[in-house]
């Protein structure tokens, strides 16, 4: 198949890119499971949260210190049972990402709960389905 990159017809309107007006909101979360899950297989679960993870050591443009604001506790439950628990500090990068193993023993939801030091609680869940 010929590449279309070099054959833009004349008269094609210029591309305009919609720039994001604001960064994604704090607390938006995603969980990604493998496309197909077999019973009793150990799968990789990927979880991503939008969060600034401020250490408290930086200052903003006006010179004011940015207070610490970070996720410090993550719990993973599978079918209502806690299977993993993570203790974090501000040493985790912004928009914290984690990949962890999970034995897919039954069809049940995986729920991840993030808690930050300002009392924010963020949740996301996804169903494990065998295919």
């Amino acid at each position: 198949m010929p590449s279309t990159h070099h054959h833009i017809p004349a008269g094609t309107p210029a591309l305009t890119f919609a720039m994001p007006v604001s960064p994604p909101a704090v607390g938006e979360a995603k969980i990604l499971l493998p496309l197909s899950v077999a019973r009793d297989a150990v799968i990789d679960v990927r979880a991503l949260l939008v969060h600034p993870m401020d250490t408290g050591f930086f200052r903003d443009a006006a010179g004011n210190p940015i207070p610490p604001y970070f996720v410090n506790a993550v719990t993973v439950s599978y079918g209502g049972q806690e299977v993993a628990r993570f203790e974090w500090t501000s040493g985790i990068s912004r928009d914290p990402f984690v990949r962890f193993p999970l034995r897919a023993s039954r069809e049940a939801p995986v729920q991840v709960t993030w808690k930050d030091n300002n009392g924010g609680v963020y949740q996301q869940s996804v169903d494990v389905k065998f295919a």
Binding site: V42, T55, V83, A84, F86, I92, R94, R99, F100
Partner: protein, 208 residues
Amino acid sequence: MSSDRTSRNADRGASRGGEIPGGTSESGATNVGRRGFLRAGVLAAAGLAFSRPLLGEPANGAALLAGAGTTGHAPRDAMPGTSGPDDEMIDAVRQLLKAKFGDRHIQAGHVQLDIPTDAPDGRAVPAIIDIDLPVTAGSYVAAYYLMVDHNPDICLATYHLTAASGEGPIETRIKMRRTSYVRAIAEMNTGELWSAATKVFVGLNGCG
């Protein structure tokens, strides 16, 4: 480990399952005196260099370089982040290990810490921790500890797992303040402690 030209390669080799660099054993203690002595020698040489006029006698400069050679340090070892100080496990890490694990022996091996040795941006350094021991219902990883020697929070993440987790890697992205050792410790449910450490050279400070 701190000998000049091969230091980086030696560190990389050590990270793949040798001893804990600057480790918890007594071998670290015997090196302190020699390394401290070398460091003192380098500082003295630097002091001499600055006490002389800037465009001084070339003969003296040559003598200084020769002197540096006899102490075992090439001149470029004065570059920050390439010489010895980061090779020692600092007291804060020792105290933290003592507080967390008491007198339990931390063995090197079985843990793979997959992390780039050069991290230009310390704000996001990807790290993968894995263990090569078979995971069964009676023997599994109860927790992974991820530590960075020179970060404000040394133990920056703890991952508590259960038998329901199964066997697999933990991946995350961490911040690093400066060049230092990154240590991963796996605590088995039986109480065994396995560890790995890698020296990561950091460009941009990610912690503030």
